[in-house]
């Protein structure tokens, strides 16, 4: 069993003419890697009619609808995060309830609002009520603002996580750019923050630092935009960890924080 906790799909109302090919490529590569379940999100229109990281409510709903359709088409292979924009509190809460009721298993927060902002509290509260994790897009050690996103870093996510100790938060793509060591130091003592190993970064020493920081019990395997790097990290972990430890990273940690029955072998 292998769960990819950080996947994305595209849909027709995005700028990408090759959206179908990219979706097929993810599933095809997933089959080669042995991915059992892709836990995915769609960030609105991916920039077509509102910015990727600041999606309009209309685009948020359309993206989530597209993901629900994919989940219905591939019920064994695809699960969804409800992506929301916390600046629209009422819409975000309603959208989360709608998507979870339709079978999604988590919440995706990208970069529309800093993670430590009080606007995220009602979303975290909903996550606690429905017992679903929140995948938070993170810039590892944000030293300045970056265009196109209001990125959060690990310290800000930890502030939110400390306010909501009963919610599982997933720190997105530790290999996705930025100083991952800064993030790992920040999350060490915050037990409800899990580290997602996805991202294009395959730095020597990064996985050892992840294990040292949070232990195998808080690591989650994922790919994001580069499945080759995800597979590389998985292969390297096979040399670092025992079979039982590896199973935690491959799927058991995910099964623990996602709702019961979210995955076939759960």
């Amino acid at each position: 069993m292998l769960v990819d906790v950080h996947a994305h799909f595209l849909h027709a109302r995005t700028p990408r003419a090759d959206w179908r090919e990219r979706n097929v490529s993810r599933l095809t590569a997933g089959a080669k890697i042995g991915i059992s379940v892709h836990v995915a999100s769609i960030l609105g229109s991916w920039g077509l009619t509102s910015p990727i990281y600041f999606p309009s409510p209309r685009d948020v709903s359309a993206g989530n609808d597209a993901l629900l359709a994919l989940q219905r088409e591939q019920p064994d292979a695809i699960r969804g995060y409800a992506c929301v924009n916390p600046n629209y509190t009422a819409h975000a809460r309603a959208e989360i309830l709608r998507c979870l009721d339709a079978g999604m298993i988590g919440i995706k927060l990208a970069a529309s609002r800093r993670a430590d902002d009080p606007l995220l509290d009602p979303i975290a509260e909903l996550a606690r009520e429905r017992r679903v994790p929140i995948l938070q897009h993170i810039w590892q050690h944000r030293r300045r603002d970056w265009p196109g996103q209001e990125a959060s870093d690990a310290l800000e996510l930890c502030a939110l996580a400390c306010r909501h100790p009963d919610v599982a938060f997933i720190l997105a793509h530790i290999g996705g750019g930025g100083d991952w060591l800064h993030s790992l130091h920040a999350v060490t003592l915050v037990p409800n923050v899990y580290v997602d190993l996805s991202g294009s970064g395959v730095d020597g020493g990064m996985l050892e630092a992840c294990i040292e920081s949070v232990g195998v019990g808080r690591l989650l395997w994922g790919t994001d935009l580069t499945m080759d790097t995800g597979w590389a990290k998985l292969r390297y972990l096979e040399t670092l960890l025992s079979k039982d430890e590896l199973a935690l990273v491959r799927w058991k940690n995910a099964a623990r924080i996602f709702p019961p029955g979210a995955f076939p072998a759960d």
Binding site: E21, R22, Q140, G205
Partner: protein, 256 residues
Amino acid sequence: MRVDCNAFIGAYPWRKVPYTSPGEVLKALDRTEIDVAWITHLPSLFWRDPTEGNGWLYKTARNEKRFKPVPSVHPGLANWEDVLSDAANSGAPAVRCDPMYLGLDPAGGEMRVLAAACGASRLPLILAVRLEDSRQRHPNDRAGDLPAAAVRALIRSDADVRLLVTHADRGFIEEVHFGSTPDEARRLWWDICWIWGPPEDHFATLLDTVGLERFVFGTGQPLRLPENSIAKLDLLDLAREQRDAIESKNIQGLMA
């Protein structure tokens, strides 16, 4: 046969990187079934005179037949031509110069003279676009990425020079390849370590558009996990001979 044309030995100055000794790199070669690694002494890339690491490099390579030395050369220093003759005499498959780390104009006179000398010596010249993602670098690590324009300028500057560019992504490769004449492009090789696989499929696209014969197996280890370059090959549906070409045969064209 699998040849890693992009490997390093020794400590990295900007962060803790484990397993950088010759013995540890050999273990990584065993783990990933890499038969031969072209190695450069990593610390000296950041020294004022990067050639001061070459002696250690040659000695290390003499002690281990799976290592092939790729010495560093600095065309702004006196007697830099000696590095080329030493390299030729020592059986080095190539030399490397990373102008951004040396504070050199990457397309300036010194680099052009070096390119011409490498062409005349029939020694391929290796250049890295980057060693680390710019988003994660140490605040004092301010060397910029190698510009694609510099590679275009260097390949045009001498009709015999052959360049191996490492750590390039799809956009960089396309910009240089399609910004070069077919003859120029035939003297350029690219290592695969920084090219994205699925679902974006940059690597598959480049094999189709730029041509499989232009790509060679490289990892960037130990700064990067060597498993990555193998995984991206495993994710392609390549015929055995195509895979062999990338893993070892194309590199022979670079050295011809």
